[in-house]
């Protein structure tokens, strides 16, 4: 069975400092992995997606994630946090490519950005 584990339920950073949101996955075969962001009272927006083309994936708003098979990790990073990055971030796995199967969400990490 496929699953994702987000290691931190809450991360707090200061504006201008790096962001690291950790995610580990479990999959019996090469999965598709995603990061989605949800701002308060808003819908889910795709940040980036990994589908085995390249291990370092660049997304929107300066975010990127690196797929590490040996560590079964797909951590989300950003060099410098902005106040507008404060939101809930979900690491997501799709067992069958993202469009043909349902998505399995992690529990989410709430990112707070202090001025």
């Amino acid at each position: 069975a496929q699953s994702v584990t987000q290691l931190d339920s809450h991360v707090s950073v200061s504006e201008g400092t790096p962001v690291l949101l950790r995610c580990n996955y479990s999959s019996s075969y090469s999965p598709s992995l995603f990061w989605y962001v949800q701002h308060p009272n808003k819908g889910l927006q795709l940040l980036l997606k990994y589908t085995s083309a390249a291990t370092l994936v660049k997304g929107i708003n300066g975010f990127e994630a690196e797929f590490k098979k040996s560590e079964t990790s797909f951590h989300l990073t950003k060099p410098s946090a902005h106040m507008s990055d404060a939101a809930e971030y979900f690491c997501v796995v799709s067992p069958s490519g993202g469009s043909q199967g349902n998505l399995i969400f992690g529990k989410g990490t709430k990112l707070s950005v202090k001025p």
């Binding site: 598709s32 995603f34 819908g43 469009s99 998505l103 969400f105 989410g108």
Partner: protein, 114 residues
């Protein structure tokens, strides 16, 4: 660019009432997914449709039903509503076989059951 449209955005019902949530996918998308996100929870997959046929089923209660119509829009019908059905309901759409292979989400319908 057109996005996934969900209506209504907010819905207030009382226990034992019924509710219908609508989802209009991105044009040319043939697959629709429904997810339920309870307060403080991660989204949970309910059901999906491809070309008007149910393609997958998740943790959808028997009191709920859904269908996809010929214009590819989908409706989630919820009967005998319970307090625990209060949640944000997301619809996502995609086009099977597309290179991007991404589910695009609507803004959600927030259902409150009183």
């Amino acid at each position: 660019a057109a996005g996934v449209i969900q209506s209504p955005r907010h819905l207030i019902k009382e226990k034992r009432e019924t509710a219908t949530l609508k989802c209009y996918p991105i044009p040319r998308h043939d697959t629709v997914y429904w997810y339920q996100q309870g307060p403080g929870q991660d989204p949970q997959f309910l059901i999906s449709f491809y070309e008007k046929m149910q393609s997958d089923k998740g943790s959808i209660p028997d009191r709920f039903s859904a269908q996809q119509f010929s214009d590819y829009h989908s409706e989630l019908n919820m009967s005998s509503l319970e307090l625990g059905d209060s949640a944000l309901y997301f619809c996502a759409s995609t086009r099977q076989g597309s290179a991007k292979n991404i589910q695009y989400f609507g803004a959600g319908t927030r259902l409150s059951v009183l």
